[in-house]
Subunit: 406 residues, 2 copies
Amino acid sequence: MALIVQKYGGTSVGSLERIANVAEKVIAARAAGHDLIVVVSAMTGETDRLLGLAKGIDPQPNPRELDVLLSTGEQATIALLSMALEKRGCPARSYTGAQVRILTDSAFNKARIVDIDAQRLRADLACGRVLVVAGFQGVDDAGNITTLGRGGSDTTAVALAAALKADECQIYTDVDGVYTTDPRVVPDARRLDRITYEEMLEMASLGAKVLQIRSVEFASKYNVPLRVLSSFAEGQGTLISSEEDVMEQALISGIAFNRDEAKLTVLGVPDQPGVAYRILGPIADANIEVDMIVQNVAEDSTTDFTFTVHRDDYDKALRILRETANELGAREVTGDNKIVKISLVGVGMRSHAGIASTMFQTLAAEGINIRMISTSEIKISVVVDEKYLELGVRALHAAFHLDSKK
Amino acid sequence: MALIVQKYGGTSVGSLERIANVAEKVIAARAAGHDLIVVVSAMTGETDRLLGLAKGIDPQPNPRELDVLLSTGEQATIALLSMALEKRGCPARSYTGAQVRILTDSAFNKARIVDIDAQRLRADLACGRVLVVAGFQGVDDAGNITTLGRGGSDTTAVALAAALKADECQIYTDVDGVYTTDPRVVPDARRLDRITYEEMLEMASLGAKVLQIRSVEFASKYNVPLRVLSSFAEGQGTLISSEEDVMEQALISGIAFNRDEAKLTVLGVPDQPGVAYRILGPIADANIEVDMIVQNVAEDSTTDFTFTVHRDDYDKALRILRETANELGAREVTGDNKIVKISLVGVGMRSHAGIASTMFQTLAAEGINIRMISTSEIKISVVVDEKYLELGVRALHAAFHLDSKK
């Protein structure tokens, strides 16, 4: 008998029929002999409906009150799912974040979990109950309701699994696992049986948005085995765990990509200490997040400095950069918002040489010009023209044999 | 400077525009120098929407979980009103029932308030904040969310006023006060400036449904001055207070009536001890509420026994009564579901004789036959044929000069 935390997202509880479906899945897992804690999100559309009400009152609603409002979404779902379980003869009890006592800091709208009081939950589990816990919400030490920010229900589930030392944390979603790449781009993309936390972090942050990044970090920190599976289809999903648990590590786990990038370059900046900060400081001050950063030394005593930002921030970043370039006496500012980033991810890279060169060779063979390169221990990212996205991803997927069982 | 508790019902907060309107009213009261606690209900229709979801899962949903679900309605309103106040520069803070700590018993769906922790509220008031409290909900000593049952927001407001020794509890609704009778029946019905708790209780229980009965009982018990006024119109409304506060007491305060009555009679019941219980016991067991009860001694050693029930329960009550009558050897069972009850209410009755005879004379002059009579200290109720309702109420309203200022 294992203790399992299951988490069902908004789509999985998006209607009364779907809530009934979740109840059946929970009961099946319980029949298999497991103790269960079930974390749920608000029904699809509910959070947006509530947000619409708030914005109707104030485009920038009071953060404390926004959390009071938004937390009602999950509270409704825990009640409905508990009713559905009770109706089927399965003892269940709902818990709001405050009732569990999921203690957070007081950063309304984006609070962080500080501690979880597992005592009452344990007592209820011992009584044979299924515990249904509201995701996304907590309470600060003054008793104010807080929320963890969008996608925070995943974090709630992982934090509960960590606090109660659960055997597995299962994240039910509308996809049946983590794939080698987006199946819409590569039809024979393959579902991964296993992947490491680190790889998942690289995949997620690069645009394969299956899980909230924070929840993966959390799972990694507390070594909680995390499984992504579908609410609507049978299957084992993808297990995300530490590297030690993965026996035969593949060279490359997957290919992530991101269409939302834009690239900015300052050419001919005097090469002096502190220049990177002088360029990126004003960008950060404008709340623009910078992704890749590359700096090359040019032939004269100047340097070329390139970075990428979200495409929505491109115009604003360009304006700021032109001012900075003037002040710095740089030669020119260029930019391109028709670029994409493609990344190979795999812990196997650490011990295998030659992966970068295979990647570059593959892209060259397709006539794809690489505009920027950036590497980390388990990832190689390249920036290419937008029009080459599909071609590049498919070529790499084939080159690294991701479509066949290894 | 006074401490005022204001309560706004579902219609008063039924849209974002109306919530904005409530915010303006609150700010005006604050500008007049008052400290304010504002109790709100769920937006119109929201409780029914949530109830619909629950019934969609289980026609008889788990009571604990139903309260978790329903309490989200008021929670959304407190957040929205607090945002609206904050946006207008008025410091405000929302409180759920659990956050105030409105401690109730554990009777889910119909909990009763046991205690209110006023400490945190007092501290917030001292900071100059308007406190926005969710009506209708509380928390039991195990931390479970409870609700007080329909209309419970009035009770929340009065209980808060009592706990914080407020100077007045103002119930904002869609009528501008308590009237001598229903203006739809008597167009020149007059708004009462003042009325006693006892009179209000008789008026409310007799069908003049402005306030929840329990909240009036509560106000009477703790001597909280209660004012009913309109959210949508200016005016002083009606003040409900103890008899001592009302200087010149009118003879009759108002005329209540109830169209939902039906009458059942057992004729020729052997007149023995315990017969009333044997007749009404099975009715009570079937969860049918009995209103008026009249028993007459007949000439032989039998008695006639008459009582009224809600019209919806008439058929069921008749079936039960026929069985009982058989067992008792009664002569006959008759019934009538085309009757209404008309009641004169006034604390002045206590010290004035002749009111009953004026009432009966007035009805007789209009050719209205009285089918049943029942009296209490401050009330005289008669049952007449349904068709005489309007005629009877208008005649009595005129006879007791309720339409003119006294």
